[in-house]
Assembly symmetry: C2
Homo-oligomer: 413 residues x 2
């Protein structure tokens, strides 16, 4: 008998039929003897419908009232799911964020959870009830309704699991779990039984958008075992755990991540002086543009090249800012390249295994792919290459690190 917190997203509860299917799943856990706390999102489409209503009233809706409005989406789902559970003989009680009570700061539309009063939920569990909680929402000190921002239901689930000291937090989604890479690019991409929190953070931020990154950070911080699995298909999904999976024969690499929509900016010939990197990057990030990879290299002539990547959609704006910076530095050219992509290999195992980088670079060399930039961290090596080589590079790396699913050939198409 375990205490499990489950989270079902908007697609999983998108229709009355799907809500019934979720109720079947939850009832199955109850019948197994588990205690279950369920966190749900708004039915898919509902949040957009409400937001459109607000925008038809005013262009930039008041954040406080936006939270009052949007929080109704999850409230509808908790009521319907509780009914569906009761219908299955599974006694259930719904709670809004305010009722639980999930206390947040007062930053409307992107509040952060401060505290959860777990007593009310524990009392309901004692009574044998499934507790159904509205995700994404809370209340501030003055009982004003707040929301955690889009995708915040994952965070609600993890925070509840931490507060309740649950045995596991299960995030149900429309994929079966975390794969070694995107199965649309590499056909034999393998579902991972487990990854570490650190790996998940790198994989998530690099584009495998299975989980909200805030939820993963939260789970890591509070040591909540997190599992990603499918609402629609059977399977154990992927466990995101604190410990490395020592059973794996080759633990070096967990997966290959990639990012398509980046652009590269190089400021060349800047003077080799203290504070120069800040002078270049500072104005860009102050204008609200998110900077990803940053690489600086000294040239032979005593000047520096600073290269970094930004979202492709923001690259023209960044170029304008940098042109001004270059003028003020009285030097240097700014070069923008939009036809690039980033590919990374991620794995906690690379800490203790030498030769990972050279194996990576050899695989790319064998395919004739030129590497434009390299950056490394403890558990990740990222490269920037020409965009047209993306699929080729990902497949080459996936194969070079033996990540393929050995059962793939046996599967029916």
């Amino acid at each position: 008998m375990a205490l499990i917190v489950q989270k079902y997203g908007g697609t999983s509860v998108g229709t009355a039929e799907r809500i019934k299917a979720v109720a079947d799943k939850v009832a199955g856990f109850r019948n197994n003897g588990d205690d279950v706390v369920v966190v749900v999102s708004a039915m898919s489409g509902e949040t957009n419908r409400l937001a459109e209503l607000a925008h038809s009233i005013m262009e930039r809706p008041i954040p406080r009232e936006m939270d009052v409005l949007l929080s109704t989406g999850e409230q509808v789902t908790i009521a319907l799911l509780s009914m569906a559970l009761e219908k299955r003989g599974c006694s259930a009680r719904s709670f809004t964020g305010g009722q639980v009570r999930i206390l947040t700061d007062g930053t409307h539309t992107k509040a952060r959870i401060r505290d959860i009063d777990s007593a009310r939920i524990h009392a309901q569990i004692e009574l044998g009830n499934v507790v159904v909680v509205a995700g994404f929402q809370g209340v501030d000190d003055n009982s004003n309704i707040t929301t955690l921002g889009r995708g915040g239901s994952d965070t609600t689930a993890v925070a509840l699991a931490a507060a309740l000291e649950a045995d596991e937090c299960q995030i149900y989604t429309d994929v079966k779990g975390v794969y070694t890479t995107d199965p649309r690019v590499v056909k034999d991409a393998k579902l991972l039984n487990s990854v570490t929190f650190e790996e998940m953070l790198e994989l998530a931020s690099l584009g495998a958008k299975v989980l909200q990154i805030r939820a993963v950070e939260f789970a890591g911080k509070y040591k909540v075992p997190l599992r990603v699995l499918s609402s629609f298909e059977e399977g154990d999904g992927t466990l995101i755990s604190l410990e490395e999976d020592t059973k794996m024969e080759d633990p070096a690499i967990a997966g290959v991540a990639f990012q398509r929509d980046e652009a590269k900016l190089t400021v060349s010939g800047v003077p080799d002086l203290p504070g120069i990197a800040y002078k270049v990057i500072g104005p860009v990030s102050e204008s609200g543009i998110e900077v990803d990879v940053i690489v600086q290299n000294a040239a032979a002539d005593g000047t520096n090249d600073i290269t970094f990547t930004v979202k492709r959609g923001e690259s023209d704006k960044a170029k304008e800012i940098l042109d001004e910076v270059a003028d003020s530095l009285g030097t240097a050219e700014v070069i923008l390249d939009k036809k690039i992509c980033k590919v990374s290999i991620v794995g906690v195992g690379m800490r203790s295994h030498a030769g990972i980088a050279s194996r990576m670079f050899k695989a790319l060399a064998d395919e004739g792919i030129n590497i434009q930039l390299i950056t490394t961290s403890e558990i990740k090596i990222s490269i920037v290459i020409e965009e047209k080589y993306l699929e080729l590079a990902v497949r080459a790396l996936h194969s070079a690190f033996d990540l393929g699913d050995p059962d793939y050939e046996k599967k029916p198409e």
Copy 2:
């Protein structure tokens, strides 16, 4: 400078455009220097949409969860109206029933208000804010969400007006106020400047469905001046007051009410014994059928006739029950007549004016209308007649008591 509580129903806030129109109206009062508390219903259609969702999950939805579900309807409206007010430079704050806090008993789907904590609203008024409150909802002692049942937003408005000691409670609806009778039946029906609470209660229960009867009772009990007026047209509407309007020249009759969908049941030849009325009516009302008019008359042979009216839709069921009762009494016939209607004249003035009844009966006799039943109360005389005479009877009475609008002929068609 007055403190006004205003209530806008579902039709008045049915679209974003109508919400903007309500905001214009409220802003007008603010600009006049009045303090305003606004109570709103769910946008028209929304409550039905949510109820259908619930019924697609289970035939008889759990009342507690139904309240969680339906209360979202008003929550959406308060957020949108507050935004619309802010857009007009009129600072506003929305509050759910739980936030206000409107404390109710725990009877889900038809809770009764016990107490209102007016401190939070007063504080907002002090800050110069329009306070927008979700109608129809509250919370019980354990912070469970409750609803007051359909039309409960009127009750919320009156209860708030009482708690805040407001100068007036204005109920905005889709009619201009209370008329002397239904303008669809009598073309020159006149808008009443004022009626008393007692008259309004009789008029409301007799079919002039302008106001929820519970709200009128509440307003009378707490001496809250109540005004019914149109959201869509200009005008002062009808004031429902504690005092008789002594300015009216002929205060005898306030209006003519009628009810179409009734049926008459007569149990004839029952023994003239104590407790016999209970034996006849008891089983009918215990089965949940609402009994309206009851008349008993002694026949010459020492037996009694008991006649009463019920909703036409429930009359066959009532007949079945009465057939069994008649069998057990070993007597008497049960006669069901579905082709009847009820017409009433209402007015506090009839207490002190003799001759009202005879004037009524003469008007009907002049039109050759046979009266089947007569009942009277202090401020009302009701008759049951054949259904086909309804319009004729209403027009005759409206005219006999000089209720017509003298300005009617001058109005454009």
